[in-house]
Symmetry: C2
Subunit: 241 residues, 2 copies
DNA sequence: GTTGTTGCGTCGGGAAGTCGACAGAGCATG
DNA sequence: CATGCTCTGTCGACTTCCCGACGCAACAAC
């Protein structure tokens, strides 16, 4: 799946030809380098990003300075669609977690098009609903599930959104995402490595056994995935597992 | 604040006279008895509820049968507004957690009105955004904060939505909400009682010291509250603390 | 090759919360 | 008053995760 096809974003690929025609002239292809900050809480959302093979994290900032992940966005969705109808402030920090490419468009330009296409408006509505479903599942997940299960879930949903079995990320970073201590991540990563599910080497994770990770992950992984599939059917119809 | 004013719901009270005129004939006043089930995951959302002095919980159901709270809805909002534009399935179980009164309307009727009023559409849009903000804050909260802090937060946000300092709820029930063991709730409740913040007696909690609870609660309580205030200003302009 | 930096592994004490079990208290019903 | 049920308090062992500290390994820069 390392096809040269530029538009892997499922939301863009789901657009009707008419809608796509209206948007395409305003869409810009961008490289998203790792760590790039798209938005902080309180910032107006001026640009909307449709990831092709990058992953964007929505992080909730706490007073302590901690930043914990509340949702991730990849090729199944887009960042900033809450602002697709009317101007809106971001409530989270949005950063590029895994580098790659995306298409972007000005929020005002998208809002113009949305006014003319109820079909596009419904697509965005469905996306926002799925994102909400993602969030409430994570509320439950963070309260009930072990770090190991959440770690597996995280790796899987990241893996779904990229075209490689190798993910570049440090344990420190992952600890922030999951909202746990770095040493806890080390312990869990060691455990998964012993089981042969992943390999960890200095900032790089290799996914060795997807099925094993799925067995170790909590139900939340599949639950969120099914919600997206129901509300935003995959126009490519592909799947990894 | 035990005024006989029937419409305490802030969303309804924020409507323009025109919008309210269009809706009022379709709105029905209902008593919401404790424990009433409004929706289960997968059910179509057919009715939208605007609480006046009851509290509705959105609960995420897990495969194990556990049901944990992912958001609460009171007089500052409404249940079911994701379905205000187009038909939608519920993703959570919605139950009445604290009894009281609400106004309800058929989703189809509201959708008709929304088509005619962009102002109403924007109000609903803001509500859904605030609810999303509520959810992502809870994602972080459940990952980072102690049970005691979350317990305080829960009591405060419940207290905000009713007209009494007495809340009827068992520790068992609260344990489900918070996603913890019942014995843990007992321990925390005992601690708060010793500090003089609450009184607990067989299914009934009395709020004795709001300021003390606010000191014990995590920042999430205030954060969520400010988000609602920003997106949906209180038309009554009142506050409890 | 040396140095500096970054990321990982480990160790140990401690706090928080789990889980099962049981006793007792409050309340309603007959 | 007796019965039964529901809700709360307690206990103890156990697990998970926190939190700070330290050393080492890998990599980059010069």
């Amino acid at each position: 799946m390392t096809s040269p096809l530029p538009l892997k974003n499922r939301l863009l690929a789901s657009l009707s030809p008419d809608d796509f025609a209206m948007l395409s002239s305003q869409l810009t292809f961008v490289e998203m380098e790792k760590g790039r900050l798209l938005c902080d809480p309180g910032d107006p959302i001026e640009t909307i990003y449709f990831p092709h093979d990058c992953v964007i994290s929505l992080m909730t900032l706490m007073e302590s300075g901690a930043a914990i992940e509340s949702a991730t966005i990849g090729r199944e969705g887009a960042f900033g669609l809450m602002a697709a109808v009317a101007p809106r402030q971001s409530m989270s920090r949005a950063i590029v977690q895994v580098p790659g490419r995306a298409s972007r468009i000005a929020a005002t330009a998208l809002a113009e098009t949305v006014k003319r296409s109820t079909r596009l408006a419904h697509l965005i509505d469905h996306h926002n609903d799925a994102l909400f479903g993602h969030a409430i599942q994570s509320v439950a997940c963070n309260a009930l599930h072990s770090v190991e299960a959440r770690f597996c879930r995280w790796l899987l949903s990241c893996h779904d959104r990229i075209d490689s079995d190798t993910i570049s990320l440090t344990q420190e970073f992952l600890a922030d995402m999951l909202g746990v201590q770095r040493t806890t991540v080390t312990a869990v990563a060691g455990s998964l490595q012993t089981k042969g599910l992943i390999r960890y080497r200095r900032g790089i994770v290799d996914i060795l056994d997807r099925a094993g990770l799925e067995a170790g992950a909590c139900e939340c992984y599949d639950s969120v995935r099914r919600t997206y599939e129901r509300l935003l059917p995959d126009p490519f119809g592909q799947s990894k597992s």
